[in-house]
């Protein structure tokens, strides 16, 4: 049972595309697209958004993301009128980055508040990357052999591999560093096939974390 996500967009195609992208990283999360007007056309459909929130709920609550102004209003009105029927919240986040961050967080089994928080801070994270952290307890250097490097799906797999571990993990590529718990930060490294990355972990589960990342890289992220 994981938190469900609803993507509210003026465009049916855009909402479906965001759901498609997020599904790459979160195969077990309920992702529902609520885009466009009933019968086609650009706009947001209150009934469709309300129904999407019901459909996305499997008991752990729902987070709604939106594209532009009136999509936000429609989403908020839907949440207000659902009136507790679904434990839902509308998050102010960049739609694509927020969807990816929220989907990965939900896939990892986080609760509704954590999923919403992951979405909300997605925009800022993409710009600033991770903070520096020295004194790693475990580290390993790995060469990426898979086709796409640390692109979206592999990055999501890496984040998921670390979910639930008591450890702080950083991935370095040359001068750059990224928080290994953030898909967007990992993607912002731009690590490609053939690149050598350094994984630094500290905390109680540092050893396990490093082993899991090594394993993923060795398996070419199951590509």
């Amino acid at each position: 049972m994981s938190v469900g996500l609803v993507f509210v967009s003026h465009s049916a195609t855009l909402a479906a595309g965001v759901a498609e992208l997020a599904a790459q990283m979160a195969p077990d999360v309920k992702l529902v697209a609520a885009g466009g007007l009933d019968g086609g056309g650009i706009g947001t459909d209150f009934e469709a958004v309300s129904q999407a929130a019901r459909d996305a709920d499997s008991g752990a609550g729902v987070v709604l993301l939106y594209d532009l102004g009136s999509a936000q209003m429609t989403a908020e009105l839907a949440v207000e009128t659902l009136d507790g029927e679904v434990d839902a919240v509308v998050v102010d986040a960049p739609l694509v980055e927020g969807a990816v961050a929220a989907a990965v967080e939900a896939q990892g089994g986080a609760d509704r508040a954590a999923v919403a928080a992951a979405a909300a801070k997605a925009g800022a994270q993409a710009e600033t990357g991770a903070s520096t952290d020295s004194g790693a307890a475990e580290s390993v250097e790995l060469t990426l052999r898979n086709d796409v490097g640390l692109h979206a799906r592999p990055a999501a797999l890496l984040v998921r591999a670390l979910a639930g571990l008591d450890t702080e993990v950083t991935v370095r590529l040359g001068e750059q560093e990224a928080d290994a718990h953030s898909v967007l930060a990992l993607m912002s490294l731009g690590a490609r096939q053939g690149d050598r990355i350094e994984v630094l972990a500290k905390g109680a589960d540092a050893g396990t974390a490093v082993e899991r990342v090594k394993d993923l890289v060795a398996r070419d992220f199951d590509e």
Binding site: L37, G43, D45, F46, G69, S70, M73, E76, L77, T81
Partner: protein, 206 residues
């Protein structure tokens, strides 16, 4: 004199016919600063409201609630959730009262304003519906002693002036805000439609 359920329904029918009359005007206002659909959307919404209350619900609050849910689903665009919220909050304020007196009318206008403000996150001066509705609420409160028709007339007069004030404003909410200074000199379509709705209610109450 207080309004009955039937007179509230009658007032909504009057609103629908005024919106239909001004459909083109609202479209033209919206064409200047938005996507030219405000008149079409509102007309579709209120036409659906008239159909939805053909069998008149039991209380004034129920009439307004039916109007709210209909507007939410039928209007589309930003006006859908905004008008829908306004009517929904007004309906909630009325509860299951069987008649609406002047004080209740002022209260439900205030509740509608609060809803629109919260939903659209707009304040007076942003060039939105709030610029018409906020002064209307103020004026309505001041006229409570004079009865329902006076309350609504005072509200409509103030809303007209408030809507006119948006001509000189730089919009800060909605699509018009993307135009910035270029939107100055244009009457906000949402403020205009709000004033029209209040005027229709005032005329119906006379």
């Amino acid at each position: 004199m207080a309004c009955t359920t039937e007179s509230v329904a009658e007032a909504l029918r009057a609103v629908a016919s005024v919106v239909a009359e001004h459909r083109v005007e609202l479209i033209e206002l919206d064409r200047a600063i938005g996507d030219a659909d405000h008149g079409e959307n509102l007309n579709r919404g209120f036409t659906a409201v008239v159909a939805a209350i053909e069998t008149v619900p039991e209380t004034p609050g129920a009439v307004l609630k039916t109007a709210a849910t209909t507007l939410i689903s039928k209007v589309g665009g930003a006006a859908g959730p905004l008008y829908g919220t306004a009517f929904l909050r007004a309906a909630t304020k009325l509860g299951d009262r069987s008649e609406v007196d002047a004080e209740a009318v002022a209260e439900l206008l205030a509740a509608a304003l609060e809803g629109v403000r919260a939903r659209g996150k707009a304040e007076v001066g942003d060039a939105t519906m709030v610029d018409a509705l906020a002064p209307a609420v103020e004026a309505a409160r001041g006229a409570v002693a004079d009865g329902v028709a006076a309350v609504l007339t005072a509200a409509a007069d103030a809303a007209d002036r408030g809507a006119e004030s948006t001509v000189d404003l730089v919009p800060r909410k909605g699509r018009a805000s993307y135009l910035g200074e270029r939107a100055v000199g244009h009457l906000d379509p949402g403020a205009r439609s709000t004033a029209l709705v209040l005027r229709a209610l005032a005329e119906a109450a006379k």
